[in-house]
């Protein structure tokens, strides 16, 4: 059980995607124009990650090594099709605003990367834990980035005009909602994560000593 918890929490800070591994940048940049889109994308990817990790781990002794990547892609694509149909049925407006980035979860390198690096050689429960942790980490990253871009780029959070709520006069930086702002915001956030990460690691190390 402790192993299970360890694999989950690993994805939340130590190996949090996409900061610690620079994978899955396309959805990170594209859908984080608002908090809502970030959460939606993150949860969709989490669902696919847990499912594909579980199935790949179950079949890890059956799949021959030479065709493993093709087999993984088929398994991942199956879950992506499920997500696509579920989102169209129950979250139609969200699925419209995420657009082609839902089918593109299939080529999200985080998912194939976890299959290759973890699910291929670990038992089912641990693989599910890994998928859950990585997925939640990804969701948190997307939500934070979406929050920053929506707050400063459009002046809203969840579509709510927060600055007007506090009677503040704030002119949003429209560029943050556009492509250049996405790249720059993610780049600076990556740098910030490196700084914060180092400080936290130092504190942790001191506590152990």
């Amino acid at each position: 059980m402790s192993q299970f918890v360890k694999e989950v929490t690993k994805g939340l800070w130590k190996d949090i995607p996409p900061f610690r591994f620079v994978l899955g940048l396309c959805p990170t940049l594209a859908v984080t124009t608002s908090v809502e889109n970030g959460i939606g994308m993150g949860l969709a990817a989490t669902f696919v990650l847990i499912g594909s990790n579980a199935i790949i781990s179950m079949m890890r002794k059956v799949i021959p090594d030479e065709v493993r990547v093709a087999s993984y892609i088929v398994i991942i694509a199956t879950f992506v099709v499920c997500v696509e149909m579920l989102m169209k049925a129950y979250f139609f407006s969200l699925s419209e605003s995420l657009g082609i980035f839902i089918p593109l979860i299939v080529v999200n390198c985080i998912i194939l990367g976890r299959a290759e690096a973890f699910a291929k050689k670990n038992p089912v429960m641990l693989s599910i834990a890994d998928g859950l942790g990585m997925g939640l980490g990804f969701t948190i990253s997307l939500t934070v980035l979406g929050f920053i871009r929506e707050l400063f780029g459009a002046g809203t959070v969840f579509g709510l005009d927060v600055f007007a709520l506090f009677n503040l006069n704030f002119e949003p930086f429209g560029i943050l909602q556009q492509a250049p702002g996405a790249f720059i915001a993610l780049g600076l956030m990556l740098g910030l994560m490196n700084v914060v990460g180092k400080i936290v690691d130092n504190i942790m190390a001191r506590r152990v000593v």
Binding site: V81, P180, N194, V195
Partner: protein
């Protein structure tokens, strides 16, 4: 939209990398050196064009007649994966020189979202076969252009003083943002 407008828009205005956010992993992964960037750009142009041709055929002669559009994602990724494998074997046998220069980039293209993304956009925009091919060549050329521009800037990072926390991907993303900003200026062209 006329063919010319389609080309200009795909290369400059809706650049697949800088405006549509597709294919960022290879963009940041292989842009440290000029040679590898050119190799990747060529491989993408090659595969992307063939892939959109085949996915268009699969969509219009297989998925639509049988009402299987909901399997599009699965079908397309299989077509692309098989195609990449096939192109790899074909090049290895018949054009070994090209195979050597494209080398490791070919298998990586399966998971390049630019390929699947372009195929999906062509279907979504309801392009005909000819428009699809033109659109994919232009998109791939836009990808190549952005990649080569980026690599030529990035080569200079080796000799510049960059804050420690931003080194590597961080500064790469900020640079990409600035390039995207310059491409932003094309917005009003058409």
């Amino acid at each position: 939209m006329s063919t010319f407008a389609l080309i200009i828009s795909a290369i400059f205005i809706n650049n697949i990398l800088l405006a549509r956010y597709l294919g960022n992993c290879p963009f940041l992964g292989v842009s440290k050196k000029m040679d590898t960037a050119i190799g990747m750009a060529l491989a993408v142009i090659f595969v992307l064009t063939i892939a959109s041709f085949f996915t268009w055929i699969v969509e219009h002669f297989l998925l639509v007649p049988f009402g299987l559009q909901y399997l599009r994602t699965l079908a397309f990724i299989l077509v692309i994966a098989a195609l990449v494998q096939f192109v790899e074997m074909f090049l290895k046998k018949s054009i070994p020189a090209l195979y050597k220069s494209l080398g490791i980039f070919l298998p990586l293209i399966t998971t390049n979202c630019a390929v699947l993304g372009t195929a999906l956009i062509s279907i979504k925009e309801d392009y005909g076969l000819l428009d699809t091919i033109v659109f994919s060549i232009a998109s791939a050329a836009g990808f190549g252009l952005a990649l080569v521009l980026f690599a030529s800037i990035r080569e200079r990072f080796e000799i510049s003083a960059i804050p420690k926390a931003l080194q590597g991907t961080g500064i790469g993303l900020v640079t990409a943002g600035l390039i995207a900003l310059s491409f932003f200026a094309f917005k009003g062209m058409i």
